[in-house]
């Protein structure tokens, strides 16, 4: 017996009254029924969305065992497919990770290799720079080239460079943006002062750290320390700057013309400037003009004597010496020199007997304050020694070393360096002197002079080597590989400050004994070779 509704109209009514849940359950049942037919005909299983629709009613529908089996099989198949998909995805991820790792490794190797080559080139460049006498550049290049991953040859080269640098005694590199032209030590050698064509004066501590920068608007032409630790600077911007040593501007004195040089009086608040308008001006520290001295020709030099009793102005045709009394009064003392003057200076050691060295075209003479060739005492012998020698290019006097025994160092134009010591008496009990030593560098002499203590003579030449001669021992005490165009020394010969026409000044340590504690620390750093010389200034050099 079967049953049916009496009419389709009732069927519609019942369908409308039936709850959504009833309809959904009906749909779920139909889904499985139809799926079973499909499965039996074509072996097609239920899809995931069908299973999702069936799941909520699975317990409330009386499925046949075939239908239950179909649901189970479909579920298992879908789970297996999901596992396959997940495994495939995992496989792809693993494969991609592997390829990525290989790519990264190759990229890293390539980068490593490029970096290693770059470091080798830097080391070679450092070697070339060191051979060319530029140890600071060489040091920084070696520093940039250093890496724990360097191969043996690069490491050996860097070690070699550092060993040679260690021997070179280079201590610090003081950088400017233009050629360094002015060098000075501050009071008690606690400060380094450099002036440059970049228009700045820079103050550094003895560790080589920049402390202050003082600015002009044109190249700096002179720096000097006046009384009361005032720092004086002159520039082509036609001003004189007076500064405190902690970098404060005290006074800016405008001048009618660019200033070429300046000398500060050792005791009195006086400045002597040479200007481009051929005027030498004597000024006080307030900027007041005491007196100006017009010159007919180019000004070769304008300087105070070591004790400040005189000042000297030299031009090719005239030498002008003037005495200064304690209260600043001037006493005229002026003479003309017949022969063209190339250089004039005070004899550093001889305050009692003022002399002027005139190097003319025809010879070198030491003149007295009247402008006459000095024939008294051992100057007579000195004049005899150097007289009428047209080859003399530079003359330097030492301070008294030892007491009352002046030394003179002169450089011939044929690169012969000689120094001469005055002696009180010769065998015949006459005042005399003699040539102590002659050296003949293989290249042109770039700079020669006495050290701060006057114990050493430094000779630098185009060979890119500088030698320190111990005057007592009469031998070379040490050699430095460097170029020196200008050098100044600290008073006890601990440090030397040099320039070579490049954009830096270099500080060298000459004696390790007695060096301040921080220097020792730094020396240890230096000895560790690969540590930055000065951490604050660490920078990398790039090859061109």
């Amino acid at each position: 017996m079967k049953y049916e509704l009496t009419h389709d109209t009732i069927a519609r009514q019942i369908y409308e009254q039936a709850s959504e849940q009833l309809k959904a359950r009906r749909r779920a049942r139909l889904i499985v029924q139809r799926a079973l037919e499909r499965y039996q005909e074509r072996g097609v299983l239920l899809r995931q969305e069908d299973l999702d629709e069936v799941r909520p009613y699975e317990k409330s529908i009386r499925f046949s065992s075939a239908e239950q089996q179909l649901i189970r099989e479909s579920r298992n198949a879908l789970a297996a497919a999901a596992r396959r998909r997940r495994n495939i995805a995992l496989g792809i991820i693993a494969l991609l990770t592997f390829f990525l790792a290989v790519a990264l490794w190759q990229w890293k190797s390539a980068a490593e290799s490029a970096a290693a080559q770059r470091r080798m080139r830097l080391a070679l460049q450092a070697d070339r720079e060191l051979n060319a006498g530029r140890p600071s550049v060489a040091f920084r290049l070696a520093q940039s080239a250093h890496s724990p991953r360097n191969d043996h040859s690069t490491r050996s080269l860097i070690e070699n460079i550092l060993q040679r640098l260690e021997e070179s005694r280079l201590y610090a590199d003081l950088s400017h943006e233009g050629p360094v032209t002015q060098l000075a030590f501050g009071p008690q050698d606690s400060l380094l002062i450099t002036g440059s064509a970049d228009g700045t004066v820079r103050l550094w501590d003895t560790l080589g750290r920049l402390r202050h920068t003082l600015s002009h608007r044109a190249p700096v032409t002179g720096i000097d320390l006046g009384t009361g630790s005032a720092l004086v600077s002159t520039s082509l911007d036609s001003t004189i700057g007076i500064w405190t040593l902690d970098g404060q501007a005290q006074l800016r004195i405008p001048q009618p013309a660019p200033i070429l040089s300046v000398d500060a009086h050792p005791r009195l608040p006086l400045l002597l400037t040479a200007a481009a308008d051929r005027q030498v001006r004597l000024l006080d520290f307030e900027g007041n003009l005491v007196k100006s001295f017009p010159m007919e020709d180019t000004i070769l030099t304008a300087q105070f004597s070591p004790d400040g009793s005189y000042f000297l102005i030299a031009s090719p045709g005239m030498v002008w010496v003037q005495a200064i009394k304690a209260e600043g009064k001037l006493i005229l003392s002026r003479f003309r020199v017949q022969r063209p003057v190339r250089e004039a200076s005070f004899v550093q050691s001889d305050d009692a007997r003022l002399a002027t060295v005139v190097i003319g075209k025809s010879g070198t003479h030491i003149l007295n304050s009247e402008g006459i060739v000095d024939t008294t005492g051992f100057y007579k012998f000195l004049n005899e020694e150097i007289g009428d020698n047209p080859k003399i290019k530079t003359v330097r006097f030492s301070h008294l070393y030892p007491a009352q025994r002046p030394k003179l160092l002169f450089v011939s134009s044929d690169s012969l360096i000689q120094w001469w010591t005055a002696r009180e008496f010769d065998e015949q009990n006459r005042p005399s002197g003699n040539i102590d030593y002659r050296i003949h560098p293989k290249a042109e002499v770039t700079w020669a002079g006495f050290s701060g203590s006057n114990r050493y003579v430094l000779s630098a030449s185009g060979t890119h080597w500088a030698e320190f001669w111990d005057l007592d021992e009469r031998k070379v005490s040490h050699r430095l590989q460097c170029i020196i165009h200008k050098a100044v020394f600290s008073t006890k010969d601990q440090y030397m400050l040099t320039s070579a026409g490049d954009h830096s000044a270099k500080l060298w340590r000459l004696r390790t004994a007695g060096a301040p504690k921080e220097f020792q620390v730094l020396l240890q750093h230096f000895d560790e070779r690969l540590r930055p010389l000065l951490p604050e200034e660490k920078q990398s050099f790039q090859l061109d």
Partner: protein, 353 residues
């Protein structure tokens, strides 16, 4: 008290005394089946297609001229056809009967009765609601062969008009399908008037102020489209009858249709839906009395099992209905049978062979 009205059941030949309003259509159908071996009858749901054939058309024939086989799809239309033929045989079917083709089986049947055979496929849309493509194809071929066999067999296809488009494939196999067709229109007011008057008279229910009463009934039954559904009419008449008994305390033989009663029941938007809800509640009460726990919604779930996804009726056996109920609302077989019996009593379902 059971309702005297036909309710939603189709009219059978014996109901001809209470079958009103379709005299014209009955004549048209009678002419149509005579003019061709294949007739297509279609119309909207609730227009009385089945009643027209089972009652109107059947009554036109003498028994000697007419061997009607009413065939519903059941599980498979082709098998149902064969089974119907076998059951119609006077004598026991020969052994090889099942191996015969349908044409041969019809031939056998004809020889058995010597009467023209009318194969009437009612609710033909079921072939499309439930049938497979193969089942449809087989059926078309069978009909095509039968129609060209020269046998004394006529085919009448009865289908709801919204399914008519599905006949396309059938027409390709049987090109004359639409040549002899008849559409049953909705009944007009005049005929409805006659139906109400005739039905009341048939059941011995007097109508006071008939013109006004019937007019009011028709007005109360109009839907938004001003149409009157015949199924609703039967339900409405039942409601009037029951209201007079249950609320006004009249005895059944004293019930009379009158304007005041019509006003009392009033206009009902969906009288069938209301009827259903009420009947379901009553059935739930009865189930509760039979100590069924939580019977709420159970009758509706039973009925829902008899509705197809296409919102048409669906024939099901007791066990199928039981299986369609959710696991947690299992009814004992006795209770289910009780429900089905009750639903039968209120004429919502009927048993089918």
């Amino acid at each position: 008290m059971d309702s005297p009205f036909k309710f939603l059941d189709a009219y059978e030949q014996e109901d001809v005394e209470q079958f009103f309003g379709r005299e014209k259509e009955t004549g048209q159908l009678y002419n149509a089946v005579f003019s061709s071996n294949l007739t297509l009858l279609y119309g909207a749901s609730g227009t009385g297609k089945t009643s027209l054939i089972r009652c109107g058309l059947a009554d036109k024939f003498y028994d000697s001229d007419w061997l009607p086989l009413f065939i519903r799809r059941g599980q498979d239309l082709n098998r149902s056809l064969s089974r119907s033929i076998r059951q119609a045989l006077e004598r026991a079917a020969p052994e090889h009967f099942s191996r015969l083709s349908i044409t041969e089986q019809v031939q056998q049947l004809y020889w058995d009765h010597y009467r023209p055979i009318y194969l009437i496929f009612d609710q033909f849309e079921e072939l499309y609601v439930h049938g497979s493509a193969a089942e449809q194809e087989t059926f078309y071929q069978t009909i095509a062969r039968l129609l060209t066999s020269g046998l004394q067999a006529k085919v009448l296809i009865v289908i709801r008009e919204e399914w008519i488009a599905y006949l396309d494939a059938f027409e390709r196999m049987v090109p004359g399908l639409f040549e002899n067709r008849l559409r049953i229109e909705r009944m007009n007011d005049r005929n409805i008037f006659r139906v109400i008057g005739g039905t009341a008279r048939y059941h011995g229910i007097p109508i006071e102020e008939p013109a006004l009463t019937i007019r009011n009934i028709i007005d109360n039954l109009r839907d938004r489209n001003e149409r009157v559904d015949l199924t609703n009419l039967q339900v409405y008449l039942d409601r009037l009858w029951r209201t007079d008994i249950e609320q006004n305390g009249r005895r059944a033989e004293k019930v009379a249709l009158r304007p005041s009663l019509v006003r009392q029941v009033g206009k009902l938007d969906n009288v069938l839906a209301l009827f259903l809800v009420e009947q379901m509640e009553q059935l739930e009460e009865k189930l509760r009395a039979r100590e069924v726990s939580h019977p709420e919604g159970l009758p509706l779930e039973i009925l829902f099992a008899l509705v197809s996804e296409e919102q048409t009726k669906s024939t099901k056996a007791l066990e199928e209905i039981r299986r369609a109920l959710p696991e947690d609302r299992r009814l004992s077989e006795a209770n289910l049978r009780f429900c089905l019996k009750e639903l039968q009593r209120i004429k919502i379902i009927r048993p089918v062979e």
